[in-house]
């Protein structure tokens, strides 16, 4: 063990270990199914899920839902320094400083913001899980090397890490996704490794070993599937952070420069200069970010409780 952020890591490991103590399930139901049952009866989880689904729907069908083109300019004759037209017929939320329809931009923005959030989380998840499986399945020096590497990434504060990578890769949406993904890799790697270590000592894994089942089969067929729940919970929570972090990077000027793809963070950053003229330009994208982040957080927290034996009373 290294000295760095022991406590932080300890917390990740504790989460992972807890998943290892899961009882077989209630009344023959598998853990996932019983967790799902509890979630379905939980109003908070449903609220979170509805929020997430609504925004996913908006993102998926943006071209059908948006009343106007998000890049075309309107009402240009009415925009003057110190005056940006507000809501009126045809423009339910008004236009921005360049005369683009705010509502349509928000709708298309959902697409871009969620895309960045989802892609970066999936990327972080895949890389982190691969490292976690390597460390958890092989142990020994592979474990040491992988975990040391993970510790180094963990020793740079998240936003600084993301900035470093964005600067290196240039300004485009892929750089943004990779930068956010890298920050998430160590969390997933540690979580999965810890969870797998906890599972490896469990009765069924030992039993499978005693029966002479091949190691690969034990790891991928038994240990891995049973180690996934803390990782899934973390992924849900990470989606919220990823969207907020994307907004932060956009704000720092490291976002996607392509104006054809409106994004909430960039819209918010741009609105700063017009805050005293038309606060709505900042408030709406901020609201979208807050509500989506809340949705993912509520869902993730309740998922954690549903999957956690400690709360299963």
């Amino acid at each position: 063990m290294t000295a760095l952020g022991d406590v932080k890591r300890q917390r990740i490991d504790e989460l992972a270990a807890r998943a290892g103590q899961l009882p077989a399930g209630e009344g023959g139901l598998s853990l996932t199914r019983s967790a799902f049952r509890r979630l379905r009866r939980d109003p908070v989880a449903i609220t979170g899920a509805v929020i997430v689904l609504v925004f996913l729907f908006v993102a998926a069908f943006a071209p059908l839902l948006a009343p106007r083109d998000p890049v075309s300019q309107y009402l240009l004759s009415e925009i003057r320094p110190g005056l940006i037209p507000g809501a009126r017929e045809g423009f339910p939320l008004g236009v921005d400083n360049l005369g683009r329809d705010l509502l349509s931009r928000l709708i298309y923005g959902a697409r871009q913001s969620l895309l960045i959030g989802v892609v970066s989380t999936v990327l972080g998840l895949v890389v982190g899980m691969t490292l976690g499986v390597l460390a958890g399945a092989f142990g020994g020096w592979v474990d040491t090397v992988v975990m040391r590497f993970v510790d180094i990434i963990l020793s740079i504060p998240g936003l600084l890490m993301a900035i470093t990578i964005s600067v290196l890769l240039g300004q485009n949406q892929y750089a943004l996704m990779i930068a956010i993904a890298v920050v998430q890799v160590p969390v997933f790697a540690r979580l999965l490794r810890g969870s797998m270590l906890a599972q490896r000592g469990s009765d069924y894994a030992v039993a499978a070993q005693a029966l002479g089942v091949k190691k690969r089969r034990i790891v991928f067929g038994h240990v891995l599937p049973n180690s996934l729940s803390p990782v899934i919970v973390q992924a849900t929570l990470s989606l919220a952070t990823a969207i907020i972090e994307a907004a932060a990077l956009s704000y720092l000027g490291l976002g996607d420069p392509d104006i054809a793809r409106p994004e909430w963070g960039a819209m918010l950053a741009n609105a700063q200069d017009f805050l005293s003229i038309r606060p709505a330009l900042a408030v709406w994208p901020a609201m979208c970010i807050i509500v989506v982040a809340l949705g993912f957080t509520l869902l993730g927290e309740r998922l954690r409780e549903a999957l956690d034996p400690k709360f299963r009373r």
Partner: protein
């Protein structure tokens, strides 16, 4: 205990080495490499070749790395292209600002967070409890810079109660000793300078303190709820101790253990550069400097600052671990 600390210190070495390798590789991987970083984006190929020869950048990579490492150990990160001064000098000038901001932000977060979390747990299920849960969820979901905008717009621009940008009024001609503006003002007895610097800290500190505040409320609440159900609390109550004594000696003491960790980790995060908050308030700390370095592609500053801030972060984390060992004897045994 001393052995525990020494062992932890030694374990830092591989991390710091790894970090230095990453940042060394980072600067080399940038388009144009270190020469362009030092000479700026419009450097001619001839100038770059000359620079490479002059600074030994045509030598094998490992030679270059060890030279970089040797200089990094003495805190020599070259000159900033933006300021034309050594990176470390700029850092030492700006870091005190960030420290002042972090301290005030954490005082705000702790001062409000712990009592609020404790009260929420004691009145479990009450309106205050629900409000604190919702509030702490919101606090984490709001983009920091948006909150900073709102605070600035309301209290600085509209109401004019507090200054909304910079570290001190430019009209004040203050003496600088430590670059901690408030401290400098107190040391030189320039009371109005100290007071003005303090006023400049308030809004950014509130914006910066919101996320730690939300987290502290949450952890305190959860931790108090956990501890209240422990056997030793029941025992203490059963043997007839006064409720106030049980709360003070048994509940609060044990409940604050996880909270202290959170406080440490959050302090480390804030110190490592409040890039967003400092940008909104044009507050001249390391965060704003980093943001300018991004804008003006000042790679020497980026490299040096990120390395130094990562070291600060690692050291604060180490302090957290050590203090945890002091607070909870069980940790030392491992």
């Amino acid at each position: 205990m001393l052995r525990f600390i020494v062992r932890r210190l030694f374990q830092l070495i591989p991390i710091l080495l790894g970090l230095s390798v990453l940042l060394f590789a980072w600067l080399r991987a940038l388009p144009g490499g270190p020469a362009q970083a030092a000479l700026g984006e419009r450097a001619t190929p001839e100038a770059i070749a000359q620079y490479n020869e002059l600074f030994g950048l045509d030598e094998p990579l490992y030679v270059q790395y060890f030279r970089f490492l040797g200089r990094a150990v003495t805190l020599d990160f070259g000159n900033s292209t933006q300021y034309g001064r050594p990176v470390t000098e700029v850092f030492l000038e700006r870091f005190p600002g960030t420290i002042e901001l972090t301290v005030l932000a954490m005082i705000f977060a702790i001062g409000v967070g712990i009592p609020l979390g404790y009260l929420a747990a004691r009145r479990h299920g009450s309106f205050l409890d629900s409000a604190s849960v919702v509030g702490s969820l919101l606090g984490v979901a709001i983009p920091v810079f948006f909150l900073a905008y709102l605070l600035r717009l309301l209290f600085a621009v509209e109401l004019g109660w507090l200054p909304g940008s910079g570290r001190q009024d430019v009209r004040i001609d203050a003496t600088r000793i430590t670059n901690f503006y408030v401290l400098d003002g107190l040391m030189t007895r320039e009371w109005d300078a100290a007071w003005d610097a303090f006023l400049h800290l308030i809004l950014p500190a509130i914006a910066l303190g919101t996320i730690p505040l939300a987290i502290i409320v949450r952890i305190t609440r959860a931790s108090v709820l956990d501890v209240v159900n422990e056997d030793y609390v029941r025992t203490a109550n059963a043997k007839g101790l006064a409720t106030a004594t049980v709360r003070r000696r048994h509940v609060v003491r044990n409940a604050l253990l996880p909270v202290s960790t959170t406080i440490g980790l959050q302090t480390g995060l804030l110190l490592s550069g409040a890039v967003l908050t400092e940008t909104v308030f044009a507050f001249g700390g390391v965060g704003l400097t980093l943001r300018d370095a991004i804008t003006y592609r000042d790679f020497a500053v980026l490299q040096g600052f990120i390395l130094m801030l990562a070291v600060v972060y690692v050291l604060v984390n180490l302090l957290v671990d050590i203090s945890y060992g002091l607070l909870d004897p069980r940790v030392r045994v491992r």
